[in-house]
């Protein structure tokens, strides 16, 4: 119970910070941001305490929310190891990004708005992690999407940022459709959204004669796959998987710390986290689809990162690629490995983004100093920055080694676990499945190549902007604190006692086994069969990639950058992200535009005419009614008025004060009465 109270405090702290930043006046903006930092520090410490206490236990508390008919919906908190660990990471990265942003956003007019939305995001993310039922997860899922939208569009007056935020929001909605469909199926089949109850019911459900039977409810077996694919579609949208990965590169329009927190470390990992929560619900078909899509995404993202010149875009495509890795893990039944990679990736990718942000910040200062017209994110004008940005350089170096998967760094451990899992899965499933492993291994080389390329282009060689490199100055302690903490946690020792062997990782050994419901292949991520082969092989692949990058971009070599119309085929494919945007533009978007034109025509020709003819009928009808009104109703009323005026004219003479006529009337009446009586 005490644990639940701590969890609720952690849950509400970012909301408090959000409210405080929203109401803070402009003059107190800086104070408000420092208070947010203190609040997040508290919640980071609290969640670390929670992590130490929770161990491999799990705790659930829930209460009734609302009742519709005979169905009661509940709210609840679920605490388990994977959730609390992610909670620590979200709070910690968020804290460091807050500290970093104090300097990075110092001169921004939307300072309080920015910090408010960062806190809102942290709150929503904590909501996803702590929710114990899928309905609440969905609510916070949408809230996370909203805060992402708000932060991508932070510089909303910039056209490209406004468009990018809309694109991210709309593409995410496509994925969320799948989530809603899956929720409907789950409700129909199980009658509950509570994760622990779903797990129990799913394990007791069976496939009989092509039907998926659970308790009293039975559905054709295909709905099981639909449910899994629906959930996966949600993750495809949020975690930027093929074919919906197009929003993430555009999301780099947001401020760089936001890219570090939301579009690298935490939000995009929410899809993977959701998959790990519902991994018991996924059947073999769905798992195969997930593994395939994951490997395709990993490869496509890595290829797209190869030839980018925008320093942030490289990392964006790299994120897509690494998220693909995580989903390979989910798809091959190694959800522990996927989560492991999620956690390690959160640190080193956040470190990379913040280091890149530091570079951009320094170049921006140079640009303003000389009033230049340059793109500060273009790697073609960078080079040789390592001597003047030492902290940035070394942290970037460590994080990049981790991302490449060099031994002694965290990325090596988690990537190794994923590669072993993919290889085992391919061996268990069959020949075609080796494609997944092949793409995964190819991506290792590509990752090493594009990270080596970026490292060499940005930090080595000569400064190509035409100015002296000595004019570049590194940012203050805000940057350094965040960078150093993040890159320290990218070192392998923190994750495994033996940094060459993921099997001794405390994390993997604490995560409980799931996946009981699909026992058709019995995979164990901790299975060591291929481990030494994979470890050595991946190191060799990394070395090959680094060597290629070295040969192509080594310091001292005269670098020439081809104009966009002289690029080779591969470079054009890469820089345009496989022409996916153009493809969607030509097919889906032009279809939708055509459809809107057709619908507009239909509206004008059919609906408008229908409405108009209804209008005419109404006019004619009202004319008839008007005529009837005038002749009959008015006539009736006029007649009654005329009648009563005549009667009144006749009767008023009785009352008119002519005494003699009174007497006549009295006399006549008397005579009449006498006649009638006698």
């Amino acid at each position: 119970m005490a644990l639940i109270s701590i969890a609720l405090v952690i849950f509400l702290i970012p909301l408090t910070a959000f409210a405080m930043n929203v109401i803070a006046p402009k003059s107190r903006a800086r104070t408000a941001s420092y208070i947010s930092i203190i609040l997040l520090l508290i919640s980071t410490i609290l969640s670390s305490i929670l992590l130490l206490k929770i161990g491999s236990e799990s705790a659930v508390t829930r209460m009734d929310w609302f009742t519709v008919g005979s169905y009661t919906f509940e709210v609840g908190v679920l605490l388990d190891f994977q959730g609390v660990l992610l909670l620590v990471i979200v709070n910690m990265v968020s804290l460091l990004v807050h500290i970093y942003s104090v300097l990075y956003m110092a001169k921004d007019p939307g300072y309080t708005r920015y910090f408010g939305f960062l806190s809102l995001f942290t709150f929503a993310m904590a909501g996803i992690i702590l929710s114990d039922n899928l309905l609440m997860v969905f609510v916070f899922w949408e809230l996370v999407g909203l805060s992402s939208y708000l932060l991508i569009g932070h510089w909303y007056s910039k056209d490209s940022a406004a468009k990018a935020s809309k694109k991210a929001f709309i593409v995410n909605r496509i994925g969320d459709t799948g989530f809603v469909v899956a929720l409907c199926i789950i409700w129909y089949q199980f009658g509950t959204f509570n994760l622990d109850e779903i797990q129990v019911l799913m394990e007791s459900s069976q496939l009989q004669n092509g039907f998926w039977v659970s308790g009293l409810s039975a559905l054709p077996a295909v709905w099981l796959s639909f449910m899994g694919i629906g959930l996966f579609l949600a993750a495809v949208g949020k975690s930027a998987q093929f074919p919906l990965q197009v929003w993430l590169p555009d999301a780099m329009e947001g401020p760089t710390p936001v890219s570090a927190l939301i579009h690298a470390a935490t939000m995009v990992a929410a899809g993977v986290f959701l998959m790990s929560r519902v991994v018991v619900l996924l059947d073999l078909t769905t798992l195969a689809i997930i593994a395939t899509v994951g490997s395709i995404t990993a490869f496509m993202g890595a290829v797209a990162a190869l030839a980018q010149y925008d320093i942030k875009k490289v990392l964006a495509y790299s994120t897509i690629s690494q998220l693909g890795y995580m989903l390979i893990g989910i798809g091959t039944g190694a959800y522990e490995a996927a989560l492991f990679h999620l956690f390690t990736h959160a640190f080193f990718k956040a470190a990379l983004f913040l280091a890149v942000g530091s570079v951009i910040h320094s170049l921006h200062a140079l640009k303003q100093k000389h009033n230049l017209n340059i793109d500060v994110q273009d790697m073609r004008i960078m080079g040789g920055l390592k001597s003047n940005l030492p902290v940035t350089f070394y942290t970037y170096l460590i994080a990049a080694f981790s991302l490449m998967g060099l031994p002694l760094f965290s990325g090596f451990l988690s990537k190794d676990a994923l590669l072993v899992a993919s290889l085992n899965w391919s061996a268990a499933v069959g020949q075609l499945a080796y494609g997944v492993s092949l793409l995964a291994f190819a991506t290792v080389t590509l990752t090493a190549f594009y990270m080596g390329r970026q490292l060499l282009l940005v930090f080595f060689g000569d400064f190509r902007s035409g100015f002296s490199v000595s004019e570049i100055q590194e940012g203050g302690w805000h940057f350094k604190v965040a960078l150093i903490i993040l890159c320290t946690l990218s070192i392998g020792f923190f994750w495994s006692f033996n940094p060459f062997d993921y099997m001794s990782s405390w994390l993997l050994n604490t995560l409980p086994a799931k996946l009981n419901s699909t026992p058709q292949f019995d995979l164990e991520v901790r299975d060591a069969t291929n481990h030494s082969f994979v470890g050595v092989g991946s190191i060799a692949l990394v070395m090959a990639g680094v060597l290629l990058a070295w040969l192509k971009f080594k310091p001292g070599k005269i670098l020439t950058f081809a104009e966009s119309d002289q690029l080779s085929f591969l470079e054009r494919v890469s820089i345009n992200n496989w022409y996916l945007d153009k493809f969607y533009e030509r097919t889906i978007l032009s279809f939708i535009r055509w459809l809107t034109l057709v619908l507009a025509q239909v509206e004008r020709k059919v609906i408008d005419r229908l409405v108009n003819s209804f209008g005419w009928i109404g006019v004619i009808f009202s004319f008839v009614v008007g005529w009837l009104d005038k002749v009959f109703i008015d006539g009736l009323i006029n007649f009654s008025a005329f009648f009563s005026s005549q009667v009144g004219g006749m009767t008023k003479s009785f009352q008119y004060g002519k005494v003699q006529s009174f007497i006549i009337f009295a006399l006549v009446s008397l005579a009449l009465i006498i006649f009638l009586i006698l």
Partner: protein, 99 residues
């Protein structure tokens, strides 16, 4: 001895003449005179019905004469006031002025 029917005829004739005057004359004083005629017609009837011996009718006739005298004095005073106010005693004109 004059038979009783003759008295009835005279009473009826007098009453009719009085009624005709009341209905046709425009002058208020003439109408009062018509009313006097009708009262006297009723007196004649009282007396005629009393020929058998009882004196009740004769007393009643006396009361009627007294009441008629009082009525005439009051009515003539009203007519005098009406004349002062409206400068006419034509009843039709007085009715027209009412509005």
């Amino acid at each position: 001895m004059i038979p009783a029917e003759h008295f009835y005829y005279i009473g009826a004739a007098l009453f009719s003449i009085g009624l005709a005057i009341v209905l046709t004359k425009r002058n208020a004083i003439m109408i009062l005179m018509g009313v006097e005629l009708m009262l006297n017609a009723s007196n004649i009837n009282f007396l005629a019905y009393n020929k058998a011996g009882s004196l009740d009718g004769q007393f009643f006739a006396l009361f009627v004469i007294v009441v008629a005298a009082a009525e005439a004095s009051v009515a003539l005073a009203i007519v005098l006031k009406v004349y002062k106010h409206f400068k006419t005693i034509n009843l039709d004109k007085i009715a027209d002025i009412k509005d």
